[in-house]
């Protein structure tokens, strides 16, 4: 049993227990930050190990696959774990400035850490039912985080989030159960062979569709995304930042994993559906964003349209396209979290998130304005920022296939993204504050200023670095995509060479 696979999951849960026990004192906050820092160290070790050895797998309790529970890390998993740790640490630090003693007493930090643990578990598991369990872990933590302020509109958002997500998990459970009934295994590497060997391919496609709907709902694709814009603007900013960065991406990750590893028997059918879904997701998301006037609601709709690009990469299913999806996934998490954190600072300074009620940030908080430009333009795909390369690869992949319509939609959505970003820019940053307030970073207490700005600057620097030196990251994503499209190494690592 390799500790480097188990520790990324264990550290957040140990931290959660510590943070819960210390929730009444300031030590609880520090425990959360310390635990996140430890997670980051372990995640770096994990990715170094994966880069060194290729796919690594470990069997829990020494039960050999496919009977026991397997933990696996390939390039994609390890990168997702690393990015989860980066986001975890950034938001944990940022939370210090936002989360007051009341929310901390209700266990904010413990829930936050168990959310991170659940997300990490979902990225590392090699077992379908275990994936369901991790989904539930992160779901129940997210429920708690969503309502922790107890404000009226948070309850409203939570009702929609909870109900729709519960239906998705029941569907996932049903799919997993039926798949077990049909193939007799739940180990994902073993399922690859078992599904391909099944005499009843129609049933396999049916189950694939059940899982597609379940994961699609988690990933917030068209037409299953309605819970997202109904809830993401309601909780604490730190909560919505970590949700925006990580939760929908777990759904995308599950789609990527399941529809490259297990269900590749009827690609013409399943991936054709994914293609149309992704186009409609991009379009509806960005049009929804254009119609909104709340800082966080615009950003929430952007999440949806960006999810469309990632699913598109999967739907095209060429090495280049899947590489684009992987790269997009990694770049997007950093950018999106950062935008929500900036929205949080803007709300703190101007007193509202309604774009018509705020303004003046460009004049009085130029640093924040500059820091907004970086992720906003990256999201829209301006060179030389990270989003440009992500979009470039996806569009290039669709042009290679002669899919002109797809490439056209992808470019159009980028343009519309800039349109709604301009709206935020014009209303929140450029125009004067309607009540004549002069919001400035100096208004924040000294400690809060550091706690809020350091994570934002760090994430912005990452965006710039990925954009300026893309070759290393693209190379990494290429390797990840190769492993996804040809999972022989993955299967061999889990089941052993003999059963390849």
């Amino acid at each position: 049993m390799s500790w480097v696979l188990a520790l990324p999951i264990m550290i957040p849960f140990v931290t959660a227990v510590l943070a819960f026990l210390l929730r009444r004192s300031r030590m609880g906050d520090l425990a959360s930050v310390g635990g996140s820092a430890a997670s980051l160290v372990v995640a770096v070790v994990l990715i170094a190990e994966v880069l060194d050895q290729g796919v690594i797998a470990g069997q829990i309790g020494g039960w050999q696959a496919p009977f026991g529970i397997t933990l696996v890390a390939d390039h994609l998993s390890a990168a997702m774990v690393l990015i989860t740790a980066i986001i975890g640490l950034s938001v944990a630090v940022w939370s210090l400035a936002e989360i007051g003693p009341t929310s901390a007493r209700f266990g904010y930090h413990a829930l936050f850490q168990s959310l991170l643990g659940g997300v990490t578990g979902a990225f590392l598991t090699g077992d379908l039912f275990n994936l369901y369990v991790w989904f539930e872990v992160l779901l129940i933590s997210s429920f708690g985080l969503l309502v922790i302020g107890g404000r009226k509109y948070a309850i409203d958002g939570a009702v929609k989030y909870v109900t729709l997500n519960l239906i998705a998990t029941v569907l996932f459970l049903a799919g997993a159960g039926l798949l077990y009934g049909a193939t007799g295994t739940l180990n994902m590497a073993d399922l690859r062979g078992a599904v391909a060997a099944s005499p009843d391919q129609g049933l396999m496609t049916l189950i694939a569709m059940m899982l597609m709907v379940a994961f699609g709902m988690k990933a917030a694709v068209f037409p299953l995304f309605f819970w997202l814009p109904a809830s993401y603007h309601t909780p604490h900013y730190a909560v919505s930042a970590v949700f925006a960065g990580l939760l929908t991406k777990v759904g995308v990750y599950a789609l990527l994993r399941v529809f490259t590893l297990i269900f590749v028997g009827d690609v013409g059918y399943t991936h054709e559906i994914l293609l149309w879904v992704s186009l409609l997701t991009m379009l509806t998301g960005v049009l929804g964003a254009a119609a909104q006037s709340d800082f966080r609601k615009i950003l929430s709709f952007h999440i949806i349209s960006q999810i469309g690009y990632m699913v598109l990469g999967l739907a095209l299913m060429t090495p280049l396209a899947v590489m684009g999806a992987v790269f997009y996934l990694l770049h997007h998490i950093i950018v999106k979290t950062n935008l929500f954190l900036i929205a949080g600072v803007s709300q703190r300074l101007t007193g509202s998130s309604d774009l018509y009620a705020i303004g003046g940030l460009y004049r009085t908080a130029p640093l924040l304005a500059a820091l907004f430009i970086i992720p906003a333009f990256s999201l829209a795909g301006f060179p030389p920022l990270s989003g440009f390369w992500a979009k470039f690869v996806i569009v290039r992949a669709s042009l290679d296939l002669g899919e002109w319509l797809v490439a056209g939609v992808a470019l159009l959505v980028g343009l519309l993204t800039i349109f709604s970003m301009t709206k935020i820019w014009a209303e929140a940053f450029w125009k004067a504050h309607p009540e004549g307030r002069q919001p400035a970073l100096a208004d924040l207490p000294r400690s809060a200023r550091w706690q809020m700005m350091v994570p934002i600057i760090a994430l912005a620097v990452m965006t710039v670095v990925i954009g300026a030196f893309p070759s290393a990251f693209l190379e990494f994503a290429t390797k990840g995509a190769e492993q996804l499209l040809d999972p022989a190494a993955y299967v061999a690592a889990v089941l052993g060479e003999a059963r390849r």
Binding site: F129, V133, E136, L139, I140, F143, G144, V147, G150, K152, Y153, A154, I155, D156, G157, A158, V159, K160, V162, T163, L166, I167, T169, V170, L173, A174, A176, G177, L178, Y180, G181, A182, A230, S231, H233, T234, Q292, S293, D294, K297, Y356
Partner: protein, 120 residues
């Protein structure tokens, strides 16, 4: 036997959909409960029904003579039931809080977090 369980499971799912579409949060919750039970039944049936056969070991600790019940779907079910119970408890608490907050449970009228219909 399988047919019976399958029909029962289908009936539960159908009822749950009817309940979930009613627009009342409490009914939705009951629907969700029925849905998860319907799915649990389906998992049990998918793992093959072997009435009377013991899983792993018999009553006196001996190996079962001919048929052995599959223990894995039962373990999965147990996990699913426990998780489902926890989530349902949370959803119920949320519903109570929603009732206290809004004074009703009509989902169509829960629009506090949404922008007003017309902005003037």
């Amino acid at each position: 036997m399988e047919t019976l369980v399958a029909c029962l499971s289908g009936f539960l799912v159908a009822t749950s959909i009817w309940l979930m579409l009613s627009g009342n949060l409490m009914r939705f919750l009951f629907g969700l409960l029925l849905l998860s039970n319907g799915v649990n039944l389906a998992i049990l049936a998918a793992g093959r029904l072997t009435p009377g056969a013991p899983p792993l070991l018999g009553v006196k600790g001996e190996l079962p003579a001919d048929t052995m019940a599959n223990a894995l779907p039962q373990a999965l079910l147990l996990t699913a039931i426990v998780i489902g119970f926890g989530l349902f408890a949370f959803a119920l608490a949320l519903t109570i809080q929603a009732y206290r907050t809004f004074g009703h449970l009509e989902v169509d009228r829960m629009r506090i977090a949404e922008p007003a219909e017309e902005r003037e």
